[in-house]
């Protein structure tokens, strides 16, 4: 099993109140799945994705990623895990504005210690896969939203992760770009990459194999 969440809870302590965002979720995702997580805003679906992506720690419960108990890992070990096994795609792309496309793509490789020469080759290869080789030297501000998101996907894939986590990846895009992005995810999944997409669009969810619905921090459906 790639991902196994057992009764996970996550709460944020604010000065006056404590907000329980996740209130006991049990979830399993196996390798090669294409999953959508749905839910209204504030339902906790993004928090769930952050937990799965080892960006955030649990308040209680256990999380096994590739049969590793994540709670036992140090921050540095989690950074390494994210670097090598997990690719992130964000709603607002989160590219570094000062860097051009291929320099953005190579960032994960920098942190996994790949030499500068190899980095450029691998980055270009990834840009080719998302069809943006001719845009390699453009800065994010010179690219359309769809192109920026494809650069972000190339960046997520460059270290050949086992799983790609996408948080509303099409939320800021037009319909045509939507299709492009979903096509890329579909192809990736066929190549064996596990993909989890957080979305609130039925349209997007319908293109995945399985839909998990989160309501008020608990699983409403799809969590087996």
């Amino acid at each position: 099993m790639l991902i196994r969440l057992i009764d996970i809870k996550k709460s944020y302590s604010l000065p006056k109140v404590t907000i329980d965002v996740l209130r006991g979720i049990n979830l399993e995702v196996s390798g090669g799945e294409f999953v959508a997580i749905m839910g209204r805003s504030g339902s906790g679906k993004s928090t769930l994705l952050n937990v799965i992506g080892c960006l955030d720690r649990l308040t209680s419960g256990s999380y096994f990623f590739m049969d590793i108990d994540v709670s036992l890992k140090t921050d540095n070990e989690l950074a390494e895990l994210r670097n090598r096994q997990i690719g992130f795609v964000f709603q607002n792309f989160n590219l570094l504005p000062r860097l051009n496309a291929w320099k953005n793509v190579e960032i994960p490789l920098i942190y996994s210690g790949v030499s500068a020469k190899e980095r450029k080759g691998l980055s270009m290869e990834m840009l080719e896969r998302v069809g943006l080789l001719d845009r390699a030297d453009h800065k994010p501000s010179e690219l359309s939203g769809g192109e920026q998101q494809r650069v972000a996907i190339a960046r997520a894939l460059v270290n050949r992760p086992v799983i790609v986590l996408a948080d509303e990846p099409t939320g800021n895009l037009d319909t045509r770009s939507n299709h492009e992005i979903m096509d890329i995810f579909g192809k990736l999944n066929k190549e064996g990459v596990t993909i989890i997409i957080v979305t609130h669009e039925e349209d997007i969810a319908s293109k995945t194999q399985r839909t998990i619905t989160i309501k008020d921090g608990v699983c409403f459906s799809g969590c087996y």
Partner: protein, 401 residues
């Protein structure tokens, strides 16, 4: 993550904010330049004084009337409690085997006149040994000799300033000048020596001591200038002189023996302290520059909170982020240090051409010290912002607007 990558990230980020980086560096540049310049000026002054005093002869002791509390102090004129007499000098030369020459020096001021021109100047009574002891060279004619002294001849040796003012272009040798009420024959002109320690050595007239006794009608000496046999006997010579004079002055120590080498040492010490104090003050400005770096790094961390979040999400460890910002701070301070060294160094070299009385001496240790100090400032003031950046929670950083 390798060092080259870290440095290149720092470079990119500094270049993307050129103006800000430059202004931040300016603090360090000014600090380093100030340290180097002030140390150079201090060192220059020390060398200058050593040279000037060295030119006034070596192995010299000067006995002045009156007791001063400290050794090696400056002698400020003839406010003697008791006279130092002509015979004292003769006795010292006769009795002490460590003394080569003891010259009784009488100093007064008088008008010197020739063909309607006149000048009020110092008249110094010395004997034949004085010129050698003080390294004074005769340019034209001869100096004062033994028989001039023995027979109190009315002869004089002019400093160049006096010669120019009173005689002009006329042939000085054999010219007759009036000093006080009497006529003197000019037997020589000094070589130009210039101003040493604020005193114009060329603005004097030398006459035989014996003659000056008559001119000023006094037995009282300005000082006794003593040449000792070698630097090794300085303490013995001092003891001899002390014993001889105390005995002669009815067991009272009413004089002070100054040693020129001690004076040089003391002044050197004073100048060293001064230089350190000035460099210390300049170093404070370097610290202020460091605070500037810290300030701008804190701004930079805040501005790039999202970037930090993205990098962490993509696998940057806390260490990577820490180094990235630390290297940025240190790059700022080291670049500032290099620029400051160039600015301070060039200014130190240029200053003497514009301000004549300010000699400078570029000191390598000041350059190395301020360079390393600036690097240390970068590390010291860079750690806090860098640590702050490295400890940011990835989610919090990613959500930062």
């Amino acid at each position: 993550m390798d060092v080259i990558e870290t440095i290149s990230i720092a470079r990119d980020s500094l270049l993307s904010n050129r103006m800000r980086s430059l202004l931040t560096m300016l603090g360090v540049i000014i600090g380093v330049a100030a340290v180097i310049m002030l140390v150079s000026i201090g060192e220059g002054a020390r060398k200058y004084i050593q040279k000037e005093l060295g030119e006034l002869g070596s192995n010299i002791l000067v006995v002045v009337p009156g007791k001063t509390a400290k050794e090696g102090g400056m002698h400020m004129g003839t406010s003697a409690v008791r006279k130092l007499l002509y015979s004292d000098a003769l006795l010292i030369e006769k009795r002490s085997s460590n003394v080569l020459h003891a010259v009784p020096v009488i100093v007064g001021t008088s008008w010197i006149k020739h063909a309607g021109k006149s000048r009020d100047t110092y008249v110094v009574g010395v004997n034949e040994d004085y010129f050698d002891i003080r390294n004074l060279k005769i340019a034209v004619g001869r100096g004062i000799n033994t028989s001039d002294v023995d027979s109190s001849r009315r002869v004089c040796v002019l400093g160049t300033t006096v010669k120019d003012e009173v005689l002009g272009e006329a042939n000085p040798l054999g010219a007759s000048v009036t000093i006080g009420d009497s006529k003197y024959r000019v037997i020589g002109v000094m070589q130009k020596k210039g101003v040493a320690l604020g005193f114009d050595i060329d603005d004097v007239v030398f006459i035989p001591t014996t003659t000056s006794k008559e001119l000023f009608d006094t037995d009282r000496l300005f000082n006794i200038t003593i040449k000792i046999k070698s630097p090794d006997v300085i303490l013995d010579a001092k003891k001899d002189i002390k014993d001889i004079l105390i005995k002669k002055h009815a067991n009272k120590e009413d004089f002070t023996i100054l040693s020129q080498d001690e004076m040089i040492a003391v002044m050197g010490k004073i100048l060293n302290i001064m230089t350190s104090v000035l460099a210390g003050i300049a170093a404070i400005s370097l610290i202020v520059g460091g605070i500037g770096i810290m300030n701008i790094m804190l701004v930079s961390v805040r501005e790039r909170t999202r970037e930090i979040g993205i990098r962490k999400a993509l696998g940057a460890k806390n260490r990577d982020i820490l180094f990235q910002f630390l290297v940025e701070a240190v790059t700022l301070s080291i670049l500032g240090g290099i620029c400051g060294t160039i600015v301070g160094g060039s200014l130190s070299l240029i200053i003497p051409y514009f301000i004549e009385f300010l000699p400078t001496e570029l000191v390598w240790w000041a350059i190395i010290l301020s360079f390393f100090f600036s690097a240390a400032v970068g590390v010291f003031f860079g750690v806090y912002p860098a640590r702050k950046a490295s400890l940011l929670h990835p989610i919090v950083a990613l959500r930062y607007e």
